[in-house]
Amino acid sequence: MAENNASFVRHELIKEQVPPVSQRGVVKWVSENLISSPFNVIMTLLSLWIIYSIIVNSAPWFINGIWDAKSVRECYDILDGVSGACFAVLKERFPQLIYGFKYPPTEYWRPNTAVVLLLAALAPVLFRKLPQQLLGFSAIYPFLAYWLIWGGTPLVPVIAFLGLAFGIYCFRRFSARSFAFGVVIAVIAASLFWVLGGYLSEANGTFLALEAVPSRDMGGLMLNLLLGTIACSISIPLGVILALGRQSNMPIIKWICVIFIEFIRGVPLITLLFVANVILAFFFPPDTSIDLILRVIIMMTFFNSAYIAEVVRGGLAALPTGQYEAANSLGLDYAQSMRLIILPQALKISIPGIVNVSVGMLKDTTLVSIISMFDLVGMIRGPILATSEWNGVYWELFGCAAAIFFVICFSVSKYSQWLERQLETSNR
């Protein structure tokens, strides 16, 4: 083509220009997000005012907070009329808030170790990318934690663990013939082991023993975590069994499960705690005394398992019928098809729901303060607020309790969302 030499024709491209000020950066963001319409402007101003008033009212309270004082009166003297928090109570009563007021102070390292090890034991369960050999430690953990927290001779948990391992070995060995046969043999073997081992541990009660701490001495946040983790970990398998029972086509088994689940879900947890507190003892053989913490764990486990059963039922129902039919057509029996085909998929769907229920359970452990157990809230309401030194410091104490629960529950729910995303992408 002929070159165009006319002077009014441009020969080179104009350089790309930056967008006008109103269409980029902060200005664009503000105009789109904060002041796009009159209503939006009002909302923005309103929110800014709310944020401002919260900061103005609470900042001095935090900044002037007193960390060193012996009583609330001393706090007020130091503050001298200025608005300020009395955080000294948290500092002075910290051990009480965490461990309760009876746990021997020299033994605080035991629950601490148990919590650290709990994180280590949970890690391979929570994050599948970690080496799965670590799951072995997770299996040992409950027995180790029992020894650390309750103390006594380590023979008891060791025998409990070995009995369980022996039972599982027997199950592996005999379940090839039939699932039910394997289970029966395993149960018999494990019970035999425990009974025989019981004599051994009773005879050597002081072997390597830590100072024994009775259950009623547990308290504070430790009690919440204890109740929460135990109830959750027992109720997950129980909930799965209940969900399977509810889906079963054997009417009697189905109706037992339906009645159990609907009954538990229909009543508030507090009534179940009343049962644990005043009624459950009537159902145990006379002359046995089961301590309150165990009774509460039983009721909380029932409560949680009913809710987990409903979540798992949702997961089972979400599976296409083709999966069940495929398992049947491969000639798998009920136990095999559930274990190998149905449950892995159904549980994967219901993991977020199970995590939500478990977070709810952890929050609900605070209700035990109503039946006068001294968990975190119970410690605050009872032994701390009732003393003359710290009478009336509601905000600091309840705020601290709220913050602790927020950190735990929020991180767990974030984990659950993360897991949901992980599982979602793996399906694509």
């Binding site: 929110s47 879900r265 229909g266």
Partner: protein, 404 residues
């Protein structure tokens, strides 16, 4: 082939109970039932032995005895000479009252927060996220205690309203917010008030009838009748006319400061108010999440399709988006209402006399009838839960996608 099957059926062996799929389920169920019966019998035996040992029996006669304690917040007549049954009934009404109020306020809060979380306004959306996360992740018991301590600590006591230059004043001379509770004007009914209420109810019925008529007109003749203005007029005019024609038969009684406390009007105790607030703010955070998820669950294509059909934006919302969102929103919403009812049992922590505090609290402690009281308590909550879930099942069936 058929002959071989029939011969197999004839030779029934005992091992078939375990190995044959046809009979195995009977074996399992038989054993399950057996185990269940054994467990129940064992527990029952323990119960009987323990009761005999403690010299107790199971009897509901205590419900007739005078309760001997006072209930300060009540909807029906009650005094300390009334029976335990009546006290329980007062408690039931109080439970239903706080649950009802809580459901309304939680819905309002939750729907507002849920919609605002989807707002384009970044600050508003973030604020609502903070609200939802903070309230969802902290136990409700802690919220109840915090809110009740705010209520008692921040609001002025009734004595602050006294004197020439009181520290606190009533809002519009009608509402008094005190640390002991909230006093609001209450209605007094004179003669003829029934007519006014009747007219009001009639006008509401007629609004529905009118809207129905308008819709039928639209479907049969294609005629659009403006319903909004006429409904509004129907709502107000007849009642107001009857009200003044009869000489204002419904009046308001204002709370007045008498001595150390307010008298007259409606008095809601601080425990009720703080429980109500805590329940609704806590549950509102959960409802907000459900509402948000429900609105987001409606595919964007639905809105676009409706717009392509030429529907206006309010029709798009009412006829296309909301019906589909509600299908997702309502079932969890109802279970949250149930949760409010069940969580209202935490009234025990702030001293509000609901059924758990009367029957499961004071009555239980005074009479020592633990088994009976807790059983009645559970039956009450169970009855509420089961009836609500029955309603929910009916609803679910009616909105289920009709698959053919």
């Amino acid at each position: 082939m058929s002959t071989s099957i029939s011969t197999e059926r004839e030779t029934f062996r005992l091992s078939m109970l375990l190995n044959d799929k046809r009979y195995r389920s009977y074996t399992f169920q038989f054993f399950a039932l057996l185990v269940l019966i054994c467990i129940i019998a064992y527990l029952g035996k323990n119960l009987v032995e323990n009761l005999a040992k403690a010299g107790l029996n199971i009897s509901y006669g205590f419900l007739e005895d005078p309760a001997g304690y006072d209930i300060n917040q009540r909807l029906i007549e009650y005094n300390s000479q009334s029976s335990h049954l009546r006290a329980a009934f007062v408690g039931v009404l109080n439970t239903l009252l706080v649950a009802f109020l809580g459901c309304i306020m939680a819905t309002v809060l939750g729907v507002t927060a849920g919609i605002l979380r989807l707002s384009n306004n970044w600050i508003v959306a973030k604020l609502m996220t903070i609200y939802v996360e903070i309230f969802r992740n902290v136990p409700i018991l802690i919220w109840i205690l915090i809110i009740s301590s705010i209520f008692m600590g921040v609001l002025p006591q009734p004595r602050a309203f006294r004197g020439e230059n009181p520290e606190a004043t009533m809002l519009w001379d009608m509402f008094a917010f005190t640390g002991r509770g909230v006093y609001t004007p209450g209605p007094i009914f004179f003669e003829g008030s029934l007519v006014v209420i009747g007219t009001f109810l009639l006008s509401i019925v007629s609004i529905f009838a009118f809207r129905r008529y308008a819709r039928r007109k639209l479907y049969s003749e294609g005629k659009v009748i403006k319903t909004s203005w006429i409904s509004l007029l129907l709502f107000f005019i007849p009642t107001i006319i009857v009200f003044y024609a009869l000489g204002s038969p419904i009046g308001l009684e204002y709370p007045e400061l008498k001595g150390f406390n307010f008298k007259g009007g409606i008095y809601a105790r601080g425990s009720l108010i703080s429980l109500w607030f805590a329940l609704s703010i806590y549950t509102g955070a959960f409802i907000a999440e459900v509402v948000r998820a429900g609105i987001q669950s409606v595919d964007k294509g639905q809105t676009e399709a409706a717009a392509a059909l030429g529907l206006r934006s309010n029709f798009i919302m009412n006829l296309v988006v909301l019906p589909q969102a509600l299908r997702v929103i309502i079932p969890p919403m109802i279970s949250f209402y149930l949760n409010i009812t069940k969580n209202s049992s935490l009234a025990l922590a702030v001293g509000y006399m609901d059924i758990t505090s009367t029957l499961g609290g004071i009555t239980l402690n005074q009479t020592g009838r633990a088994i009976e009281a807790v059983l009645l308590l559970m039956l009450f909550y169970l009855a509420i839960s089961l009836s609500i879930s029955a309603v929910m099942n009916v609803y679910n069936r009616s909105v289920m996608l009709k698959e053919r």
